[in-house]
């Protein structure tokens, strides 16, 4: 077995998230106090990152559009929240109850992922997008219409809350777990199989990739992590309401993935954190009818980024001015100091001027037969 060389840049995202988590946990654990809005924001950021990274598995790597990601989250939130509420009298509100709720929520969402993954084997593209959308709406509608005793009906399911001060630490640990699973999967041969299906399913099948297995794997994993995000959500809020998990929320997650660059996990993380932060800050500024400006912003992000990244006509432009090329240029410039040296003397020696008369005075002899030679093959 050959071990790959340890590369810092492959692990930089764990380190950054780890450091951020450590700083905030340090504040809380040493008795410092973070105000509630900061804690809530941290929880929301963690939930968004888990959602974005897991959706990126299906949209970015498998290349199928899922419009029901919020539906999986809904399943996780309701079942996890319900289990937590049931366990509260016996186990209290400790980490054990949280863990059981996580397992249940994650498992239920994963089962839904398998159920949706099965049509995914027969369908693709637009049809699959509609099926996932339909799934999200079905889940929403089912939970909305349950009786008040089981899942709270339209009023929402009241859920126990974990100790507010520490929930975000668990949330960020789960972010790291998600990241570890998704990133390692994508760097393994299984991940390459998934991207091969995205690039050309028929070719992948022809080279022996088990398309059924990998499609189901991607859908199930993605759903499972959405379920985890759902359980976190139920712990982070007093009630779980099905109206929250509609089409719009699925689109919001999709915006995070698209903004981060499809198939780019670190991009998804950054954009998930950014959009969640902006949303929370904007919600206080934009009230009433202005709140819709946020949706306008999302819509424009989706259209502009997707057209910019995919339009065949813009390919030349993209190749010339993308981030990678710019960084490479800057590096080259930094590494090579010669561009500042004064080489005027050298240029003075080289004859750079050509007299026009010199060119014109050259006799061009009519060469007979050259035409035939050139067109010889055409006859």
């Amino acid at each position: 077995m050959k071990l790959g060389k340890f590369k810092l840049k492959h692990y930089i995202n764990y380190i950054v998230i780890g450091i951020i988590t450590a700083i905030f946990s340090g504040i809380v654990l040493t008795g410092g106090r973070l105000d509630n809005s900061t804690l809530f924001l941290l929880e929301k950021v963690a939930i968004s990152i888990i959602l974005a990274v897991s959706l990126s598995l299906v949209v970015g790597f498998l290349g199928e559009l899922s419009l029901g990601h919020a539906g999986f989250m809904c399943v996780g939130a309701y079942l996890g929240g319900k289990v937590a509420a049931l366990l509260q009298p016996t186990l209290g509100n400790g980490p054990l109850a949280f863990l059981i709720a996580l397992v249940v929520g994650c498992g239920a969402a994963a089962i839904c992922g398998i159920i949706i993954g099965i049509p995914a084997l027969r369908l693709r593209g637009d049809y699959l997008a509609i099926v996932t959308l339909a799934f999200g709406e079905i889940v929403k509608s089912l939970f909305q219409n349950t009786s008040d005793e089981t899942f709270g009906g339209s009023l929402g399911l009241p859920t126990p809350r974990y100790d507010k001060n520490y929930l975000f630490i668990f949330a960020f640990i789960l972010v790291l777990v998600t990241l570890a699973v998704v990133q390692n999967l994508m760097r393994s041969k299984h991940g390459r199989a998934i991207t091969a299906i995205r690039d050309n399913e028929i070719a992948a099948r022809a080279t022996g990739v088990n398309v059924t297995k990998y499609k189901l794997l991607a859908f199930t994993l993605s759903a499972a992590f959405a379920g985890i995000a759902g359980v976190l959500y139920s712990y982070s809020n007093y009630t779980v309401q099905s109206a929250k998990f509609g089409y719009n929320y699925s689109i919001e997650i999709l915006v995070m993935v698209v903004l981060g660059g499809m198939g780019n996990i670190n991009g998804s993380i950054v954009s998930a954190a950014l959009i969640t932060f902006l949303n929370t800050k904007l919600a206080t500024v934009l009230t009433g009818d202005l709140a819709v400006l946020q949706n306008l912003f999302y819509a424009l992000i989706l259209i502009v980024i997707v057209i910019y990244n995919n339009a065949p006509a813009l390919k030349g432009f993209r190749d010339k001015y993308n981030l990678g090329v710019l960084v490479a240029k800057l590096r080259k410039k930094a590494a090579d100091p010669s561009h500042v040296t004064d080489d005027k003397a050298k240029w003075d020696v080289v004859p750079t001027k050509i007299s026009m008369d010199e060119i014109l005075s050259v006799d061009v002899l009519p060469q007979s037969g050259s035409d035939e030679e050139q067109n010889g093959g055409v006859k």
Partner: protein, 290 residues
């Protein structure tokens, strides 16, 4: 008996609206090979245009303006958002279409506010039919839809433009080699689809006289369901699927036990149909080629 009859007629009229939207979907999907998510929102824009021009108290002018504006909007959307992505991956086109749909909804909400606007286009009144009270507008909806469907079928079968559309839908590059202006055909398709959407907007206003920014979102998705049930790309299929879906919805609303689950039932039908017969009732099976 009267109850059953009025449910059936309501179902037919709702089915007519779905069929009208599904016709637009199926044309665009068949020819441009893309799911135009914004189609439902063009219905909503049509509704708002009717609302604006009803200030003149002239229903015909309002409807004509709605059709014109929707056609312009549809063509502009196609040129600005979808045309640059021709040849790109279907996923990119789909996401852009969702973006356009979102854009139209939020623009409408900014321009007209989130509260629904009330607008009565024309009151056709009611008639008694076999003892049941029937909205005349329901019959108008159904009648217009049937006429439009027949007209579209004839148009596609017997005119040069229509046959060019079939050619483009069957094989785009071969059609191009035969001298068909593919981009032009796609634009015309979007124009026709948007005109149908404007009519669907009118029917919605005849059914319930209010328009809001989310008017078209759900009907759009349901009409896509209808188009899939009937077989995407098939004009009679869109009609069949629309009527079936409208019937299911109205019948389901009749029973209080399942009424709250109506949406869930409709979407479950969609998933089942896609699992059992992805080409729908009247769609043609196509093999995927390398």
């Amino acid at each position: 008996m009267e109850d059953i009859l009025s449910t059936l007629i309501n179902g037919l009229s709702l089915g007519g609206i779905y069929a009208m939207i599904a016709l637009g979907y199926t044309m665009v999907y068949g020819i441009a090979k893309m799911l135009n998510f914004a189609h439902g929102d063009i219905i909503m824009i049509g509704g708002y245009v009717i609302f604006i021009f009803m200030a003149t108290h002239n229903p015909l002018l309002a409807v004509a303006m709605a059709i014109v504006m929707c056609v312009i909007l549809g063509v502009v959307i196609e040129k600005v958002a979808y045309k640059p992505l021709r040849g790109a991956s279907p996923l990119a086109v789909l996401i852009t279409a969702i973006g356009v749909s979102y854009l139209l909804q939020s623009l409408a909400q900014i321009l007209f506010g989130s509260a629904p606007k009330m607008v009565t286009v024309y009151d056709f009144g009611t008639i008694k039919f076999l003892g049941a009270t029937v909205q005349v507008s329901a019959l108008v909806t159904l009648g217009v839809t049937v006429v439009v469907m027949i007209a579209l079928t004839l148009f596609v079968k017997y005119t040069r433009l229509g046959r060019a559309m079939i050619a483009v839908s069957e094989d785009r590059s071969a059609a191009q080699l035969m001298g068909i202006n593919v981009n032009g055909i796609i634009t015309v398709t979007f124009a026709i689809g948007s005109a149908l959407a404007a009519l669907a907007g009118l029917f919605y206003l005849l059914k319930a006289p209010s328009v809001s920014s989310t008017l078209g979102a759900m009907p759009g998705i349901k009409a896509f369901t209808a188009a899939v049930i009937g077989g995407i790309g098939s004009i009679p299929g869109a009609m069949l699927g629309g009527i079936l879906l409208g019937m299911v919805e109205c019948i389901s609303y009749k029973f209080s036990a399942i009424a709250p689950y109506t949406d869930a039932i409709e979407f479950s039908i969609l998933i089942l149909i896609l699992l059992v017969r992805p080409t729908g009732f009247l769609g043609k099976k196509r093999r995927e080629k390398v």
